[in-house]
């Protein structure tokens, strides 16, 4: 992708001023780090970090048919979301493959907001639009309406509450409020394994809010730390750990699938759950030196038994960690395998989720 076509968030100038290392990500020019991935990672684990995730997409679904429509397209049981509630689910194709993983927030009786992964936003929108035709519902792209800040860490809530003088929703809840004099949404969700909030705010005022929160002591964090944080707690990254060729069962996401609702792909997911899958996604830790990377083969003797879909150096555990699709019978915590890291065999052990356990 050429540089001219990269999109920039409303906070681009702020990132540049802070000396961020900016990289292309899903068509956007995004900060990967400011002062260093390890420092930013540690800030989120021990204090509070702030991520500009304005590249993520938002879709509003509204109308009398909203519940029935979402029940058809989302894997989870949408009727369980109360007003002001949030829910994680998969968007599956007819074969049960995962098109995207997303959070749905219920803003009103028949009004919902879906947050998409930026790389999938356009395709999700087209998919939702296509299936919405047989329902009494409007599907609107509202990505331009929101900047998104994720403030995460043990002190995140206290700092945001004090700095912006707002009352924040509880975990897995969403609340409408005013930030910077404009309507905003606060969501008790995140992608780091720490407590925190995600704020959906007017892009116009986002630079001022960003500055206010920095002054209040949150540490600016880039996508590099976002990746190490999420992998330590085994949150999936679509495009790596989830793809349209994998179903939620083999990805370990059966818990967010309610096949009884008859969602698109439910038959395939039910079959996978009933019959089991040939492979399962499993987290692992390297024992000793070496950093696993996406695409590394997982070996047992001379046999390849899987492939790494996410791999990195864990700043909290100070060891290489990752997730891999493995032959199902090998995906048991404690099992020993080897990761072929560019020709060098690195001993690894299958672990249970999460790889990193939050303190306290």
């Amino acid at each position: 992708m050429s540089e001219e076509t990269l999109q920039r968030t409303a906070l681009y100038e702020r990132h540049a001023e802070l000396g961020a290392k900016l990289v292309p990500f899903a068509g956007w020019e995004m900060p990967v780090t400011y002062e260093g991935i390890r420092e930013e990672h540690s800030a989120v684990r021990t204090h509070a970090g702030m991520f500009d995730v304005s590249h993520m997409g938002e879709v509003e679904v509204e109308g009398p048919g909203a519940v029935a429509f979402l029940q058809r397209v989302l894997s989870n049981d949408v009727t369980k979301i109360e007003i002001g509630g949030a829910q994680y689910s998969c968007l599956c194709n007819e074969e049960g493959g995962v098109l995207d993983d997303l959070f749905t927030y219920r803003l009103g009786g028949d009004r919902y907001l879906i947050v998409t992964n930026s790389a999938n936003h356009a395709a999700d929108l087209a998919w939702l639009g296509r299936w919405s035709r047989s329902f009494d519902v409007a599907v609107r792209d509202v990505a331009d309406r929101y900047a998104m800040l994720a403030i995460q860490g043990p002190h995140a809530r206290a700092i945001v509450t004090a700095a912006l003088r707002v009352e924040l929703p509880l975990r897995m809840r969403v609340a409408p409020l005013r930030i910077g004099g404009r309507p905003a949404l606060a969501c008790g969700t995140g992608y780091t394994g720490e407590d925190g909030v995600e704020l959906l705010i007017d892009p116009e005022i986002s630079p001022a809010i960003w500055a206010e929160l920095l002054d209040a002591g949150v540490v600016p964090c880039g996508l590099g730390a976002r990746d190490t944080l999420r992998l330590e707690v085994c949150f999936h990254l679509h495009g790596n750990d989830l793809t349209p060729e994998r179903n939620p069962i083999e990805a370990g996401l059966g818990w967010c699938c309610a096949e009884g609702t008859g969602f698109i792909g439910a038959e395939a997911v039910a079959r996978a759950r009933r019959e089991g899958t040939a492979e399962l996604l499993a987290p692992f830790k390297i024992e000793g030196a070496g950093i696993p990377r996406e695409g590394n083969p997982v070996m047992r003797g001379d046999e390849q038994v899987g492939v790494v879909t996410s791999g990195t150096f864990s700043p909290s555990l100070e060891v290489g960690i990752g997730m891999a699709y493995l032959q199902a019978d090998l995906a048991e915590p404690g099992n020993e395998v080897e990761i072929d890291v560019r020709g060098k065999r690195r001993p690894a052990r299958i672990a249970s989720k999460p790889l990193y356990q939050r303190k306290g």
Partner: protein, 133 residues
């Protein structure tokens, strides 16, 4: 992390793949990566050193340094045989960031083709190359 400021000492020779060589007499040299290389890579968390006794060739990869996000191959500026590796980097790979020309040195080599030095850049030429890129 304490970061070194950008610098390219005059007493070193440079390879265009961002490696340096410090000649010690006619037959030995110490190799490492330049300030530019470590800055591009970010915080180094792992140095995969070659074995003492290994033969390395000019312009070919002889080691890897990894940051949290990326792997970078380290290119040999000259050919030779490894006579010493910087073992302290096993526990403190961040020295490559903090002191790339000092404590962050990578290997000591017995040169097999000392005349290869003629193909390397001096500090001024290397700096000019960086400015153009």
């Amino acid at each position: 992390m304490t970061l070194a400021d950008a610098s390219y000492p005059d007493d070193l020779l440079y390879h265009d793949q961002h490696d340096w060589a410090r000649l010690e007499g006619d037959e030995h040299a110490v190799f490492g990566v330049t300030w530019y290389a470590q800055d591009s890579l970010g915080e180094v968390v792992f140095y995969d050193a070659p074995e003492v006794g290994a033969t390395i060739s000019k312009d070919a990869s002889y080691a890897e340094v990894e940051s949290v996000k990326a792997v970078s191959e380290v290119i040999a500026p000259m050919s030779g045989e490894i006579v010493e590796v910087n073992d302290s980097l096993e526990d403190s790979p961040e020295k490559i960031n903090e002191d790339p020309y000092g404590e962050g040195w990578l290997v000591k080599v017995k040169l097999t083709h000392p005349e290869e030095r003629g193909a390397l850049l001096d500090a001024g030429e290397y700096r000019k190359m960086l400015e153009k890129s």
